[in-house]
Point group: C2
């Protein structure tokens, strides 16, 4: 498949682009300012208009949105940037869209849990990006919502149990993101994840 | 009618509450920190949960959302605060909702026009609040989108022409907001306004 990874200079996006490439996909990694060391990249300014985003979508089978501003530009990047990428994808005939979100982004009643209570602005941005993808587009979506991301080795195991927050190795998040692409019953689903006891492949198969 | 004005300590909300009271309505003006000098007020924290917002909606016929953070708290007040008020209204059986927005909030292709180019974050917050009201609620809405607000005397005249930006006396915006409440064909409409040549009553009648 031809896959666009939006946010390929980020911690998740870079590993994701590498993994999808290794699986044989043609991957274009987009970046804002810092070009990542990947086989195929394209600059994509998330402040640009939808019409300016369309050219990079030509012939693309699936878009991953894994960009983020780390709290510095939530309205323009994490919220409106994401939605403009969705609109550009739809206008370009892309049908599959996989979005990296955050634990409980769609459940504001949980935003006081643990570390989330310091991230209300972030949660609001992610919430309305997720809501738009689910309810205002015709894209076949999957939304992945991990808890805290850690730069630790892959465990290869996860839990999709939504009852509590948990940590996630970035490498495991990348494996889940890559895995949902080829998991038909991951379509139209929101997947909350954390480290757990279930091998990723079987957790995906049990969705 | 029993009317809730959310943001009654603000420049628009205070005048609006006074005008609606003078018209014979029972008006409850909500405020965050600074209680306005109005006959009936209620504290309403826009950071609170939807469930905590419901009590103030009891028996209310129409809600005005005219609160704003002046850029200081866009995600939590102007965006998520507005949407939580909508949800509390719906859950409380309120059917009529009138929202103060901003010129071209729903037309991002115009966000580089004039003074708007410094207000992208604000426009994004207003855009998604407006979008939610129109597409994700069952509320009977009217959205009023003025250009720059000025603390100048009422002119009593407006233009609803959408081709260019313009200024608006706050008093004129208040007259339009009050007027749409009793204008049946203002329902389910977005009204962009600026100072103009048409008396407000006839402009509303011509909607």
């Amino acid at each position: 498949m031809k896959i666009l990874v939006v946010g390929a200079s980020g911690r998740v996006g870079f590993q994701l682009a590498q993994k999808l490439s290794a699986q044989g996909h043609q991957v274009i990694g987009t970046y804002g300012q810092h070009q990542p060391d990947l086989p195929q990249t394209a600059q994509l300014d998330l402040h640009a208009a939808v019409s300016e985003m369309r050219p990079v979508m030509t012939g693309v089978d699936a878009v991953y949105f894994v960009a983020g501003s780390r709290g510095r530009d939530l309205l323009q990047t994490d919220l409106n940037g994401a939605i403009k990428v969705m609109q550009a994808a739809e206008q370009s005939g892309v049908t599959r869209f996989i979005q990296l979100s955050s634990a409980y982004a769609l459940q504001p009643e949980r935003w006081h849990d643990g570390y989330l209570k310091t991230l209300t602005d972030y949660n609001i941005a992610k919430r309305y990006a997720d809501e738009w993808l689910m309810h205002r587009t015709t894209l076949t979506y999957t939304i992945v919502q991990p808890g805290v991301l850690t730069e630790t080795p892959a465990t290869g195991k996860v839990s999709f149990d939504e009852t509590t927050l948990g940590e996630n190795s970035i490498a495991d998040v990348v494996s889940v993101l890559a895995g949902v692409l080829t998991t038909a019953h991951a379509q139209e689903k929101v997947i909350m994840m954390k480290q757990g006891d279930q091998p990723i492949a079987s957790a995906l198969a049990a969705l």
